[in-house]
């Protein structure tokens, strides 16, 4: 009177196998679920009972114990409805025990239909790993297929799920996902003028650097930031899977399979929404949703200090650790940040036409908030002044596609170094080939401009990227000189 079905739980974004075990004993009729279930899982009892009845099966009139093993791993959500129902049917002998040789995931409706649940991709990954068929709601089938699982059954009802699990449905050909045709939100060619910022975007894209732009309202900071994903190279298959895993874990639909994601959280977002969190088991936040893509922080000066503090780890380590009651997990966060801010609270400081209305104490507060360690994470900082009229009328610039080609070849040069230039450590920077003129200029800049040690490395990293864009193995004086231009003394 025992049966089990494999399902999956997410720890961070990693799939963990969960065995759904069902035991039926002769005792007073009841159904209990053990194994650290949350409220949604406890409610599964009622959904499973109704769904079984609606599908023409009956819940045995005996004691049914459901255990979600390993028992100490916290589980949550409605995704275990389907595996529980399958295991109950097998344990009760209503269907053959072979029904358990699947990875199953899905929520049950009271009428026996199967609804999609969070973690479809994880189910696919686990099924591939265990070489089992994967049974999920038809809406989740694409996600599971993305994981590379060959035998994915997208089912609409519990009855269909039983047939699929028993191998009664014909093996479907592997779902081929339609090719994507994604145009970037903003093409570089649409942006007139702002040569400095556009070039900085190109350098940022080529080296994976965080970029900070400041300027008055209406100067085009947001548009520039939105152009960044368009000049990043296509995601590799592995990267696309990484991204999909995070998005799947957060319960959001699946992102583009070829283009890097772009996230733009508002400055009123909570810390949990930003870096990940939640009440029980942590879910990924915006920094992880932007994994392999771009996180745009508009109005950086308006972000509260605790939020900026929380961003420090992911921006530095490319991952974020979130500790919650349920579990402590690591989420990936290899992202590029684009920060945009006004030069002062009213936004018009230094503008040639509009006077700034900020008081000295306001300015002081504003700068102090932005001068902290978070600013140090931005390798490139450029001003974005209001555009001159002639530039608005000028010819369109280069297309994103042309820039993307340069970025891609610059990135290829970085492969041998083991990481993008933005993540080069000091010892790796030291062993790069610095032409003597480059060294001389660096030393001069260091002496004259009172650059900090961290700032020194920042300039060297950017110079390395500028050299890569020029296709040069040696970092020469012009590369360092250009890199110095992105140092952007903060106001």
């Amino acid at each position: 009177m025992f049966a089990s079905v494999t399902s999956v739980a997410l720890v961070g974004v990693e799939p963990q196998p969960v065995r759904v075990e069902v035991h039926i004993s002769s005792s007073k009729p009841c159904l209990t679920v053990v194994g650290l279930p949350d409220t949604a899982i406890r409610e599964a009892r009622d959904r499973v009972r109704a769904a079984l009845a609606s599908s023409g099966y009956a819940l045995p009139g005996r004691r049914v114990t459901v255990n979600l093993a390993p028992a100490d791993l916290p589980k949550e959500g409605s995704a275990y409805d389907l595996p529980i129902a399958l295991a109950v049917l097998a344990a009760a002998g209503q269907v053959p025990a072979g029904v358990g040789h699947v990875v199953a995931l899905g929520e049950l409706a009271l009428d026996g239909r199967v609804r999609p649940a969070r973690g479809g991709l994880a189910a696919g990954l686990l099924a591939k790993h265990k070489a089992l068929p994967c049974v999920v709601a038809s809406e989740s089938a694409a996600e599971a297929t993305l994981a590379g699982c060959d035998r994915v059954f997208g089912v609409g009802s519990l009855a269909e799920a039983v047939s699929a699990a028993l191998g009664e449905l014909p093996d479907r050909p592997r779902l081929t996902l339609p090719a994507e045709d994604v145009a970037p939100e903003v093409d570089m060619a649409e942006i007139r003028g702002q040569m400095l910022a556009k070039r900085a975007l190109e350098v940022a894209a080529a080296g994976g650097h965080h970029l900070l732009m400041w300027g008055p309202p209406g100067s085009g900071k947001t548009m520039l930031a939105r152009a960044l994903p368009g000049i990043l190279p296509d995601l590799t298959e592995g990267e696309a899977l990484d991204v999909a895993q995070v998005w799947s874990a957060s319960g959001r639909g699946h992102p583009s399979r070829t283009r890097p994601p772009f996230r733009s959280p508002h400055h009123t977002a909570t810390v949990a929404a930003m870096v990940g969190g939640g009440s029980g088991i942590p879910v990924p936040g915006e920094v992880s949703l932007a994994h392999r893509g771009v996180l745009f922080l508009d109005e950086l000066g308006e972000f509260p200090a605790n939020l900026l503090d929380a961003l420090r780890q992911p921006l530095e380590d490319q991952r974020v650790t979130v500790a919650r009651k349920g579990a402590t997990v690591d989420f990936p966060a290899a992202l590029q940040t684009v920060g945009a801010t006004n030069p002062c609270p009213c936004g018009f400081m230094g503008d040639r036409l509009v006077a700034c209305r900020c008081s000295v104490s306001q300015l002081d507060r504003y700068r102090r908030r932005l001068s902290g360690p978070i600013i140090d994470r931005f390798d490139l900082r450029v001003p974005v002044p209001r555009i001159d009229r002639p530039s608005l009328l000028g010819p369109p610039g280069e297309s994103s596609e042309a820039v993307r080609a340069r970025v891609a070849s610059a990135r290829r040069l970085q492969v041998d170094r083991g990481s993008l230039n933005s993540a080069l450590r000091r010892d790796r920077l030291d062993v790069q080939v610095w032409e003597s003129g480059a060294r001389h200029l660096l030393e001069r800049a260091f002496d004259l401009q009172e650059i900090s040690g961290r700032g020194f490395d920042r300039i060297r990293r950017v110079a390395r990227t500028v050299a890569d864009l020029a296709g040069s193995e040696v970092v020469a004086e012009p590369h360092v000189a250009e890199a110095l231009s992105y140092r952007g003394e903060w106001i």
Partner: protein, 344 residues
């Protein structure tokens, strides 16, 4: 007449002694005669040097690219001084306008070096020749700043004009000549840098200048000699204040206590000198860098500069960074503005 003055200059005696002898005996010819007779004691090599015909000397000088300028042909502000040199050896082109001396200790701190370079730069951008002694430390930094701005600068040496002392400043010296500046000395070619030859040359530095700026000086530093002769010449002396307990600032602080004008930065310096020399000439007319001319006077966006120059934005940015490192421009709210940020 001038032949004898040239031959006398090649004797290479102490400038003060030569001046006193000329005053006492009336002409170079009679002084040379006394040397030949042994009435004036000079070392043997100097005696031999005195008898080489002036024609041979002129040939030597011409082939070495060195001009001879007699006192009456010197710029008035130098020639009119009671202790003006009788003969000056000049490489390059000696500017006729009055310059600004930027002098200081050889063992300068980074503070002093940074300021000297900024000063040299700001003065050159304003169009005034920068005069100094090509020594290590402050002198070299001042020359460097001026050269970086493409300005005219004059190095007054304590050895022959054909030698670079210190040797490490050979390239700097050559870049001064390339930038239409001058390297001058009252000592004949071949003269080694002996310690006693340096204090007299300081009067030439101050003599070529309307104003002498002492950036950093010790209590007994050579820069104070320049300041002293500037005062004797009736010229202004400016000094950069420093920590009262720092030896490299003691000389400057003493000068300020005794009435020198304190300098509060490059902008302040240019403003103070404008009172003496009149407002600076427009940069566009002076500088070698078209870029600076383009940015003058209000500051420009990068877009504008790129459009005007029709060059790749990366190259323009690199040039701007070089100019910024040299203190010729800085950024303010996204605009490129002439002048350096620190101290104007």
């Amino acid at each position: 007449m001038n032949d004898e003055r040239l031959r006398l200059a090649f004797v290479g005696m102490h400038p003060t002694r030569r001046r006193l002898l000329l005053e006492k005996h009336g002409s170079a010819r009679s002084v040379l005669g006394r040397i030949e007779q042994g009435a004036e004691k000079v070392p043997d090599h100097a005696r031999r040097a005195a008898v080489v015909p002036a024609g041979d000397r002129r040939e030597e000088l011409t082939s070495a690219g060195i001009q001879v300028v007699f006192r009456e042909d010197l710029p008035d502000h130098l020639a009119s001084l009671p202790d003006a040199p009788d003969v000056l050896f000049v490489r390059g082109r000696l500017p006729f306008e009055q310059g600004v001396a930027v002098v200081g200790t050889r063992k300068a701190t980074t503070y002093g070096l940074r300021l000297a370079e900024q000063f040299g730069h700001a003065l050159a951008v304003a169009g005034w020749p920068v005069v100094s002694g090509l020594a290590k430390g402050v002198d070299g930094a001042a020359h460097r700043g001026a050269v970086a701005a493409g300005g005219v600068t004059v190095a007054v040496l304590g050895c022959g004009p054909d030698r670079w002392y210190p040797a490490m400043h050979r390239r700097l010296g050559e870049s001064i000549l390339e930038a239409n500046g001058a390297v001058v000395s009252e000592y004949p070619p071949g003269t080694p840098p002996s310690g006693w030859r340096f204090p007299p040359r300081n009067r030439i530095i101050s003599g070529l200048s309307a104003v002498s700026v002492v950036v950093e000086a010790r209590r007994d530093g050579g820069a104070l000699i320049t300041a002293k002769s500037a005062i004797e010449h009736g010229r202004e002396v400016l000094a950069v204040p420093g920590d009262v307990d720092r030896p490299t600032s003691e000389g400057c602080n003493l000068l300020i206590r005794d009435g020198a004008i304190p300098v509060l930065g490059a902008e302040d310096l240019v403003a103070a000198i404008s009172l003496v020399l009149g407002p600076p000439a427009t940069v566009a007319a002076r500088t070698c860098s078209d870029l600076i001319a383009l940015i003058e006077p209000i500051g420009r966006t990068v877009d504008w500069i790129v459009e005007q120059t029709r060059r790749p934005v990366g190259d323009v940015l690199a040039d701007l960074a070089r100019l910024e490192t040299a203190g010729a421009i800085h950024w303010t709210n996204g605009l490129v503005v002439p002048g350096s940020r620190v101290g104007g």
